[in-house]
Symmetry: C2
Subunit: 447 residues, 2 copies
């Protein structure tokens, strides 16, 4: 079987740690069994692997997340990038087309689609195993996971089973109900309804038949090029609710969305992460600091403090729900990014009286990695190498660089760098306008 | 008359805004009548001037504060720097010697000594005027200000007057009592005692006679050189308590020490200073941010949030008293300094696996100012100029520098820079060891 992990979203609900380039699933705040730290997506991939479900994982995502996914999960997983953001049906159709047309999987191959960030336990993955068995047994065209509700929530979609349809493997689905009122939810619970957890199992051919109603192509490249022809609609609406035969496999266990600071800090084993100190006169306080300068918190209760190059948050845990609306206008640009080749962190941005700006970054390239051969039309850059060894190229001239070396890059000059060992440098940009997309990329043949 | 302002102290009670180089009296957090911001010491100097007391102000301070004092008050005030930290008697003796031996003031000139940071009102300065009159009238050798107590505090020294000695100008002092217990304080209040506010008026000759018991010299330079011969003792013990005739002039009005975050924020007109937002679900919250990145606070009550290059503080206002002990070990070095020539701010400090460090600073020099001609034995520096115009000298070779220029300064090379217009540059230091005092200073003759 194959797993498609859906990695979407962006957003500010975990600001300032999450930003447009680093969604919540990439925050490395969870403790691994070995004591190290991992992100939500790294945790899910680890759990899939440890449950022995499969090694074949494809991640369906967007262009912005591609680099951080490769950085966190390595190059061994397949990554399918949607050319533009649409909805879950197009994303799953595209990833399925990749499996069918690029990886040439047979149409009776079983595929499981799931979100990349549920905070859950081993039994969840055993339930996925039972969903696969239900598809194999021909129990239904589409098998989904039903989360046993713990309260009459108005935030989830519900799946209502046929009474008496439980054959020990699955239950037949009678109908779906979108987010109900609380009163309606109470009624749904009395009917034995489940929460729709967004986990689906089906045979690849089943999904391809639906996808090909919109885009029928011989190659994955063609599907990718015609991506805009898929309707903007969710998988629930386009597939699940229209399916002739749907079954549900129940899961009863820990299942959470760590999508707010309140929920996320509830799962943290330590009260202070990074250079942070929680003082003695604190109660239920979490401090997470990604900055170099120290954080000290004291004399507060039920509070989260989070600091990153994007900003500093101090928030009562009961006031985290509407954080997104408050901080929407605060950050001008991501101040930290994790890329395929390494990371950068903005140390300073300053605007001078004449409108010219400067931007200072700390950049680290992983050994063996290089950035694209590039040219800027409006900004000049000065790089001061502070650690490691690399090769620097300016207008075709290559030289070895290391600690203490300086590269002066006026605008309109082609340049690139490759890390021989892990390479760190300070970049000072000056220009007007000074914008990230003042960049033209070329190929360079590193011999 | 002349005023000697005592500017001492250092410390962490207002961490992270105050540090060893920037004591609380230099924080520019108070609103001026014209809407601009000023520090406590700037406020006191403005009040002295506005009260028409005198233009002749001498600031007695230590070497660390000299540069920020000149930066904040300009070069028109006299600054007397103690060669080493001792106590208030030596500091006042040194400043008095400066007035007598360097400025050649006569021995009957009246001198008022006062702290540089009381938060008080105009009537306080009118009281100083009455103290001067009391000395002129020969009411006593030493006249001090008595603050009318508002509660039986155990934190202040008390001055007990003779019953019935009030002649409308001053009262005769019967005795001094150091910080009493609260019970004892209640008793003192019933005797009409005052708090000792640390403001003293005397004729210069009176003080010089006492100073010369320890150091009798013909020049100020000699007194300065022999500073260690003064005993480490406070002015209260050495002068006030031994004086044959002491009078007290009462002051009843606003008089505060803004020495904790709770006290300081109580006087702030705005809840957010700098790039900070206090959300709607807050009550009695102050956020002060000197960093470039945004601060957002919501859902908390009675809390101060303060961020500077030295660190980030989140503290319940009732828990500010013992801040000093908690943060003593947090900061490794001042991350921001205001100097005679301008300011610097540390953007990043990183230690690499081999023990080598890098330090990145944003430095701004005021037009016309220069740094010393200097050499480093263990670190190299790269300066990238981002704004303004200057002259840069390396091993005696001068060149004009401006935006986009780079200066590469290997260790063991003499260098300096002078700002023609306000000049900003990013400095990247690398070295092992990398310490601020790896510096040898020389003179350079800027033609």
């Amino acid at each position: 079987m194959n797993i498609i992990l859906l990695s979407g979203g962006s957003g500010k609900r975990l600001w300032p740690l999450s930003n447009d380039a680093r969604s919540k699933q990439f925050l490395q705040l969870l403790e691994k069994p070995d004591g190290g730290m991992e992100s939500m997506v790294q945790r899910v991939v680890r759990q899939v692997t440890e449950a022995g479900l499969t090694q074949d994982i494809t991640i369906a995502t967007n262009a912005v997340q591609r680099e951080i996914i490769i950085s966190q999960l390595g190059e061994r997983l397949d990554v399918v990038t949607e050319p533009q953001r649409r909805d879950t049906f197009p994303a799953i159709a595209l990833a399925s087309s990749y499996l069918a047309l690029e990886k040439k999987l047979k149409s009776d191959e079983i595929v499981v689609v799931m979100p990349c960030d549920p905070y859950t336990e081993d039994a969840y993955f055993q339930t996925i195993g039972r969903m696969v068995k239900a598809v194999e047994a021909g129990r239904a065209d589409l098998v989904l996971m039903g989360i046993t509700p713990t309260y009459p929530s108005s935030k989830f979609g519900y799946v209502v089973p046929e009474q008496g349809s439980d054959d020990g493997l699955a239950l037949t689905v009678k109908r779906f109900t979108e987010k109900p009122t609380e009163d309606k939810a109470v009624e749904l619970l009395s009917q034995g309804a489940f929460w729709n957890g967004g986990v689906f199992a089906f045979r690849l051919g089943y999904m391809m038949d639906i996808a090909e109603k919109y885009v029928k192509a011989a190659t994955f490249a063609e599907v990718h090029a015609r991506y805009a022809e898929f309707p903007k609609i969710s998988f629930d609406y386009e597939v699940a609710e229209k399916a002739a035969s749907v079954a549900v496999v129940p899961f009863k266990g820990e299942w959470k969305d760590l999508g707010t600071w309140n929920a996320l800090t509830g799962e943290l084993k330590r009260n202070a992460l990074g250079n942070a100190t929680v003082g003695p006169a604190c109660e239920n306080v979490h401090a997470i600091n990604e900055l170099g300068l120290p954080v000290f918190v004291n004399g507060v209760k039920d509070v989260v403090v989070a600091a990153s190059p994007d900003g500093i948050l101090v928030c009562g845990k009961d006031n985290c729900e509407d954080l997104k609306s408050h901080v929407a206008g605060l950050a001008t640009r991501p101040m930290y990014e994790e890329r395929r080749w390494g990371t950068y962190r903005v140390l300073d941005q300053t605007t001078y009286p004449d409108g010219t700006k400067s931007l200072t970054k700390f950049i680290t390239l992983k050994a063996g990695k290089s950035i694209s051969y590039q040219i800027h039309h409006h900004r000049s850059e000065v790089w001061t190498f502070v650690d490691g060894e690399g090769q620097f190229v300016l207008d075709g001239q290559v030289r070895r660089v290391g600690r203490g070396d300086v590269a002066n890059i006026p605008c309109e000059h082609l340049h690139s760098v490759r890390a021989v060992s892990d390479l760190s440098f300070i970049e000072v940009q000056t220009g007007n306008p000074l914008v990230e997309d003042d960049i033209e990329r070329f190929d360079y043949d590193w011999k």
